[in-house]
């Protein structure tokens, strides 16, 4: 959050009526500090994956949530999320990745003899490989981690610049005002028109 955003929110919040404004004025800085989502550091070294493993995991994630007319798992830097959870919140899943990536390599060689890494295949070839393994436990793990990494708070290393949230239409904010969506806006409008008649 930029300082401009922060002061705008401060303004919006302190201009709320009545007791609320006193409450906000005294407590908002603490809330802001607690809520501020530290953006992930610029991607650097992987802590768990080798560069080759990272390229393959990123390529799988980018097929699970592809880049279309909107950004996908690649732009959301999901692979950095997965790398980080494998050394923090989800160490028990490490062997699944080590084994799964080996099996993936065999599957690639089986389907496309002489091909290199999964990450160097064409998109159509990658989809063929993943379709062949989509019932495996390994694929389930990567799918789960990709979805979570796309949509979890950016502080965990994925959802870079709230990419995932923007794709699904989720705004991250501490405060909203009605109307919240189409039908309540429509209803409010209908009621105020009634009032004019």
């Amino acid at each position: 959050m930029t300082p401009v955003d922060a002061s705008r929110r401060q303004f919006v919040l302190t201009s709320l009526s009545g007791l609320g404004s006193v409450w906000f004025a005294t407590r908002w800085p603490a809330i802001l500090a607690a809520q501020q989502q530290a953006q992930a550091a610029e991607p650097g070294k992987f802590q768990f994956f080798s560069p080759e493993q990272a390229a393959n995991v990123e390529a799988i994630a980018a097929q699970i949530i592809p880049t279309t007319d909107t950004p996908g798992a690649r732009e959301a830097r999901v692979v950095y999320f997965i790398d980080r959870v494998l050394v923090t919140l989800d160490k028990p899943s490490q062997p699944k990745y080590v084994e799964g990536l080996k099996d993936l390599h065999s599957k690639v060689q089986g389907l496309f003899p002489g091909a290199g890494e999964f990450s160097s295949l064409t998109s159509d070839q990658q989809i063929r490989v993943l379709t062949a393994i989509e019932k495996t436990e390994f694929f389930e793990y990567v799918r789960y981690h990709t979805i979570v990494g796309f949509l979890a708070n950016p502080e965990y290393g994925g959802n870079y610049k709230e990419t995932g949230w923007k794709v699904i239409g989720f705004e991250s904010d501490m405060h909203f005002e009605p109307p919240f969506g189409y039908y309540d806006a429509e209803e409010n409008k209908a009621q105020s028109n009634d009032g004019q008649i």
Partner: protein, 561 residues
């Protein structure tokens, strides 16, 4: 400022569990002049500890891999359950019972739905008759007995709603203290659909502040209600309301991270204190003149069963053999629909409009059971992506992403909240083999849904689909009703009644067997109501505290020698 008692000070009342009920009991008794200690298993969190962080809630529960971190509820890796459907089976390890595990208990993370019981909820046995395979019974109190305490709860804690808006509402002595929350798109759609069907939708009563109230801020509509703690203090949890009031009396100590393993009794069969573990797993003995157990419908019977002794070989307060029996859970169905326009349903409170047209049982339907319905968006980004998409959606690739992107702001869930029959063999007991991280017996859950409850669920699924149709859904679906795999409303396991042979506590929540032991929480329920228990648990807590205070002042509580 907070008073601190010595282990050897026999306080007037020791309350076990500072949640939805216990915090109210503690506040009422300390305000009435008594010394009170609240012991709670969980931590003492505050508004600044609560985060908009979906990884730190229960909603990411997933078969492995699972990286959700339960911060406000019990952690099954430390306190495992075992589960079985019938008493003949050997129970297997399975996370089943979930409860709020912090000061404020489940009211910290609850949705805020705050439905009073109706008059019929207290007298279902005499109105409906017996149901085969169930222990349907009347309560020893009526709606009229509890009404003043419903009103007290609503005004003390802060509840938003519109009195008189529902033709099905029971009589009330006072309106709600606050107007209803602003309607959301889900509420508008529910209203449109319900009116078309001839039903009577009305604003949902919520324990969330629509306006500033008694020094607390109004809801900021941030959207992180269910499963989360409120950073604004606008949700009327006991943490945000009565806990500070209790502390201000100077007579109430809140002692978190204190896990009681046994309630102790003297030679005369009176409670004289409790043994508990502190945060370092060191044991302490805290003396007390009276003990009030307010854990929940699972931990309360577990503690009583763990407190067995020579005088109480079946467990404390269990001469009836009914401690842990008649376990009832949150029953309800869900149907889902998608609509043409984006609704921003992730903002503000979960529920703004509800329907009570099918609340009462109706012999014409051919089975016992009733309930209420609401419309909401049940999801946060991750849980929605994992579990919220229509059946048949591709699980990955461009098709998956397209549906996820379109549906996140266009999905409405219609929930029903229904009766759950009390069945004696459904129970909480101690697992004979498994221990928790403190070496205490793990909770063993036995639960099988009664056939009439399944009929009720199916009935409501059909009504929910009708409602979605009438509201103009472009796609709708439901899920087949199966066996319960988890429960979050834990009820009925120390039922109240007038007869010591068929109940655990009397109508004033005093254990029939132990004169200075009281039990007040969801375990006191005789029947389930319609799966919105918090309001009634809290009204019971106000009433019980009133009775305890009167009895103590009149010398009516026999304390240990």
């Amino acid at each position: 400022m907070m008073v601190k008692f010595d282990d050897n000070t026999a306080v007037d009342f020791l309350v076990i569990g500072g949640g939805g009920a216990g915090a109210i009991v503690a506040k009422e008794l300390s305000a009435a002049g008594f010394q009170v200690i609240v012991l709670d298993q969980g931590p003492y969190l505050h508004e600044e500890d609560f985060r908009h962080d979906e990884l730190k809630t229960k909603d990411i529960w997933n078969p492995p891999p699972n990286i959700g971190q339960p911060t406000l509820v019990n952690d099954h890796s430390l306190q495992p359950n075992t589960f079985r459907k019938t008493p003949n089976e050997t129970a297997k390890v399975k996370p089943f019972a979930q409860y709020g595990r912090c000061i404020g208990g489940g009211t910290v993370h609850f949705t805020g739905n705050y439905w009073r019981f109706h008059e019929i909820d207290f007298i279902e046995r005499s109105r409906w008759g017996a149901v085969e395979g169930a222990g349907l019974a009347d309560w020893p109190i009526t709606y009229a007995d509890l009404e003043p305490f419903y009103t007290k709860a609503e005004w003390d804690l802060g509840v938003s709603g519109l009195a008189g808006a529902s033709p099905f509402d029971p009589p009330r002595s006072k309106p709600y203290p606050l107007p209803p929350m602003p309607v959301k798109s889900s509420g508008v759609l529910l209203e449109r659909g319900a009116r078309k069907l001839g039903w009577h939708p009305f604003p949902a009563p919520l324990a969330i502040l629509s306006q500033p109230y008694r020094g607390r801020a109004a809801c900021g509509h941030c959207g992180f209600c269910e499963s989360f703690g409120c950073e604004w203090g606008a949700k009327s949890s006991t943490l945000a309301t009565v806990i500070p009031m209790a502390e201000k009396t100077g007579r109430c100590e809140i002692r978190p991270d204190s896990y009681v393993r046994k309630i102790s009794t003297d030679k005369g069969g009176r409670v004289d204190g409790v043994i508990y573990f502190d945060s370092h797993k060191q044991e302490h003995f805290q003396k007390a003149k009276s003990v009030v157990v307010c854990c929940n419908g699972s931990e309360t019977p577990r503690l009583l069963l763990m407190s067995k002794s020579n005088l109480f070989p079946q467990g404390l307060a269990n001469s009836s053999g009914l401690v842990g029996k008649y376990f009832m859970v949150d029953q309800g169905s869900m149907a889902v629909g998608t609509f043409e326009h984006p609704m921003g349903e992730y903002k503000s409170v979960r529920v703004t409009r509800i329907v009570h047209d099918f609340y009462d049982s109706d012999p014409k339907r051919g089975f016992y059971g009733g309930g209420g319905m609401d419309a909401r968006f049940e999801g946060y980004p991750i849980s929605f992506a994992l579990n919220g998409l229509p059946p048949g959606t591709p699980r990955w690739g461009a098709g998956f992403k397209k549906t996820l992107s379109e549906n996140f702001t266009r999905t409405v869930n219609v929930f029903s909240h229904t009766t759950c029959l009390p069945v004696e063999s459904n129970s909480i007991s101690l697992d004979p083999g498994l221990k928790d991280a403190w070496g205490l017996p793990a909770t063993r859950v036995t639960y099988k849904t009664h056939a009439e409850d399944f009929k009720t669920l199916e009935f409501f699924t059909q009504r929910s689909l009708e409602l979605l149709d009438a509201a103009g859904a472009i796609q709708k679906w439901s899920y087949p009703e199966g066996d319960k795999t988890a429960a979050v409303h834990l009820l009925g396991t120390c039922r109240m009644g007038n007869d010591p042979k068929s109940s655990v506590v009397n109508k004033d929540h005093r254990a029939h067997d132990v004169p200075n032991l009281f039990i007040v929480d969801g375990s006191s329920f005789v029947t389930s109501g319609r799966n919105q228990p918090t309001c009634t648990i809290q009204a019971l807590a106000y009433r019980a505290a009133d009775r305890m205070a009167q009895a103590a002042k009149n010398g009516g509580i026999a304390t240990p020698a």
